[in-house]
Subunit: 203 residues, 2 copies
Amino acid sequence: MSDITEVKRPYHHGNLKKVIVDTALSMLAENNGWQFTLREVARRAEVSHAAPYKHFPDKISLLAELALIGFDQLGAELIRALKSEGMTPIDRFFVAGKTYINFGLTNPSLYKLMFSAEASGGSSQVHLDERAMSALGVLLEVLESGQNQKVFKRGALNDQTAACWAQVHGLTMLSIDGLLYEEKVGENAIDGALKTLMEGLKA
Amino acid sequence: MSDITEVKRPYHHGNLKKVIVDTALSMLAENNGWQFTLREVARRAEVSHAAPYKHFPDKISLLAELALIGFDQLGAELIRALKSEGMTPIDRFFVAGKTYINFGLTNPSLYKLMFSAEASGGSSQVHLDERAMSALGVLLEVLESGQNQKVFKRGALNDQTAACWAQVHGLTMLSIDGLLYEEKVGENAIDGALKTLMEGLKA
DNA sequence: ACCTGAACACCGTTCAAGT
DNA sequence: ACCTGAACACCGTTCAAGT
């Protein structure tokens, strides 16, 4: 009988690591925050609660891996969004900003995990920083080429990068936390805020 | 003998609620994040682990109360910093921004708690929002009076408020997470970022 | 090489019982 | 009115033992 209905996991079903990561990602997508339990992941993956420890030394290592994946996804979305030709630096600023914020609002639990200190304790700290910076690199390139085309103020590239990153990060976080609703700060606060910052960038 | 050395907590030592809050605040000040355990708080307060439940229905109610205190402190510091006369709107913008960010960097665990969704689940959700808004109100006043003095661009007060709040919140968060260090985004990134945004506010 | 079951030291929360 | 001790249902983590 077990031959008929239970051929799913033959011996030790091989790719448990990927299954665990995918299960955790889908739990993040359920938007209950990133504080799921490792035992719940194991339960959903239909393995014993001890099994994940064969693939991750501890819980925060799994969290770090998820954060890594998040940064990669964010970076990929930014690059894709900016690929089309013929955009002015101003267009590119808004596209980058809105893509970034949209990623956060679409994946709030993952986004918060990416920036939670608990996720960066593990051994992959270095990789995490690297990938975070790759997302930052996209921003930097937008600003730099804008400067070169004399659309943005020359110099102070670092200041502009920090301002833009802080702006999109802040808007994303506040919006995730429900603090940017109309009653509080006016409708379309995100677009308006980006526009306000943009005025500070223009040459 | 117990008469001599143990007169500290006579019967039920009265103000347990305040002791619990203070203990929790001092644990936040130790900067190990806001995810302390309720049992540890009780241990330090030298009461049984069940005692806190006579004063708070659950853990997140305590967290919410701490967040509330944080918003009050932040608001008070902003008001104090802006009290002196004779500042230009531009001065006031920088003073408010740097006071805000400094509060976050001085109390990182408390600041993160204030903006963590877990803290806003309790029954004091409404109060929390109210107090958060009071801190926001300070920002709004700075911008509004700046507009009235024709130093800042007229109109779009909501956009400016959102931009400023997101900027300081983003800078605070990124800085707490150690992502604004020199190697990454240039030294003095915070000042530079505020200056960049300021350019967008000026009339 | 990969997984399981029992075990350990914790949590948050509840509740009868003590002062 | 305020606090305690034992108890319950969970965690994360470890480790001998199974396949």
